[in-house]
Symmetry: C2
Subunit: 373 residues, 2 copies
């Protein structure tokens, strides 16, 4: 089958497959459900780079001990507005959901609250946790540091992650505003697509081992993996002409809040290995926050003004050749409605990787051809 | 005298001149000092676009009643972690300093705190308020909406401001991290420089009245002033290729927190005029925050790790042709050390505008040639 074939799979089937895979490693059932839901939510929202395509990373992580199946999660520090959690080297998703629940609970009483998590692993899509605040009429915040892949402005080495910022804000009749953005100009996935298609990248996405602009995706990916030099540029691109230093600043801010302030590892300290080269827990850190809107403004007025602001953008004149102005989270919301109903189109490579995992773990094979609608 | 001549003036002379100008309109002495210090601090930090060059805007604002000299400032809502302040249409600086002081005081007790301010005017450089938190071992946050000049991705009309984000974080031996960035790709001042030099702008800074890329700074500025269409692009540039939608999302986030959540005007509602076309208070909103670091981590450990993170960046290999990697706020800090000692180089146009103000307001003329060193 060609590499560019897609098959449609129902979300529930994927969720069940992921849960079963996690259970095989002894992950607690509830934790397995959270991690699975985070992955499938990414696919539902059209963020396939963070979806079930990554199940293998988690399976490998659990296999090697990089991710601890039943971690000893500890609350290290706590106040009515703050909590610091040691994730015990477990999966990033369950501890992050727990942290965000605590933040929402505390903000419900105190008005605002924040959590940091250290000793954690990859937590999936950042927006997943920020969005948890919406139903509580709060603004939700979620940040994480990640493996280094981004070069600081004027630098040659990748010393920062794609370090996402997610903020979710409820609206009235309109869909919530859900910003979920890497602070790099593009995610690694974009380079992988250009590599696969053997296409030249636009100037301004990445630099080579000398720290100079490159359009060669394959070389950039190789340089990043081998830590040879260069990497993806921060939002704003190379140098200062298009304000790449701003994207670099945002990446630093995320590194500070989710890395340094969380007491996690940061910059090139993340994803450590033991003396034999085996992966240890990634030592990532996360940062979560919730602000109760009614501390600041009457809730109904706030939601009404959110609708006005959103409609101002959407209803305004379009640039020539453009038909629609989007609000952040809108494309993803529409995508999830469609995919929830019709199923998720998965690349044949992803299907194959899931089948391989199922076979390896001797899971009841749920991806029979008759399940693939 | 040619337009590109600079003269060196001591900060104190500029501060005194600004204070005297504000006092002429009946501004309270303490408030005048705050507003003056904010302007001169911008010049000291090398952000001349927000320095005394803008004194005329404030003088005009006080003259027309857009800025109320002795505003009725009211606390509208308050909790141990939050405060909402109605600025009464006064100068943006004094109320913002007061809001940040309250936030720091509350965070000192509660751990974290936030303030919103509505019914305000231009508050100067955002970083001024964020930096107030540093000495209290807190992380400081400062956001504001501004006059519309930025187009949303795929849009034709300027519906967002340059909406800055400022976050200040203390370090140990290293200088603090001070991010103070407009969420637009460039500030309006950059376009004015290109216009003055009759230079073509790079593609990716601005769009024309059709919403298409333009390199014509004069036309863009005219289009913005006349609300004809087009404007400055958000960080990340045009469309989605370099992630302009992320800059647009950050601008929206600032508009939501400092505009909608503050109960201020937002988007094209700011800078309203009465039926005769006279300017009314700008109705801008601001958002401030402070997080006590020791809620999350031992302070000494935090500062030590901040130093490590900062040095990781600064000491890393440079891109070919580059000699230095900067941390945010570092250039500005070095500049302020130099200018505090040697005086501030002011463009002759700025000197002339200050002299004109002094003459008009019958201020003791402090910019005699012998003061200009």
């Amino acid at each position: 089958m060609s590499a560019e074939v897609y098959q449609i799979v129902k979300a529930d089937i994927l969720r069940e497959l992921c849960v079963k895979a996690f259970l095989k490693f002894g992950v607690d059932y509830d934790d397995a459900c959270v991690a699975a839901d985070n992955l499938v939510t990414a696919d539902l929202r059209g963020i396939s780079s963070h979806g079930v395509a990554r199940l293998k990373i988690y399976v490998d992580g659990l296999k090697t001990g990089q991710m601890i199946a039943r971690p000893d999660i500890k609350i290290v520090r706590e106040s009515p507005v703050s909590i610091v959690i040691d994730a015990g080297g477990g999966l990033g998703q369950p501890v992050s959901k727990m942290a965000m629940e605590k933040v929402i609970e505390k903000a419900g009483v105190s008005g605002v609250a924040f959590a940091t998590v250290n000793n954690s692993n990859h937590y999936g899509i950042a927006g997943y946790y920020a969005m948890m605040a919406i139903g509580h009429d709060m603004i939700g915040i979620s940040l994480t540091n990640t493996g280094v892949i981004v070069v600081p402005t004027f630098g040659r080495d990748s010393l920062l992650g794609t370090n996402p910022i997610a903020v979710a804000v409820p609206a009235g009749e309109e869909n919530p505003f859900v910003l979920d953005m890497a602070t790099s100009v593009v995610p690694r996935g974009k380079l992988e697509v250009y590599d696969r298609l053997e296409k030249e990248m636009p100037v301004g996405w990445a630099t080579d081992e000398k720290g100079l602009s490159t359009t060669d995706a394959a070389r950039t990916l190789k340089n990043i993996s081998g830590r040879i030099g260069g990497g993806i540029l921060p939002l704003g691109g190379e140098g200062e002409l298009f304000s790449g230093h701003k994207g670099y600043g945002l990446a630093m801010l995320v590194e500070i809040l989710s890395g340094v302030m969380a007491g996690a590892n940061f910059s090139d300290q993340v994803y450590p290995r033991d003396e034999k080269g085996n992966p240890l827990p990634a030592q990532l850190g996360h940062f979560f926050g919730a602000l109760r809107i009614d501390c600041f403004r009457d809730l109904a007025e706030f939601k009404n003004d959110m609708d006005i602001l959103i409609r101002k953008m959407k209803d305004s004149r379009k640039a020539e050749g453009r038909e629609r102005i989007y609000i952040h989270g809108e494309k993803e919301h529409e995508c999830s409605l469609k995919y929830n109903k019709e199923g998720i189109p998965l690349h044949q490579k992803v299907i194959n990787s899931l089948k391989k995992i199922a076979a390896e773990l001797e899971l009841e094979c749920m991806l029979q051809e008759n399940d693939v609608i």
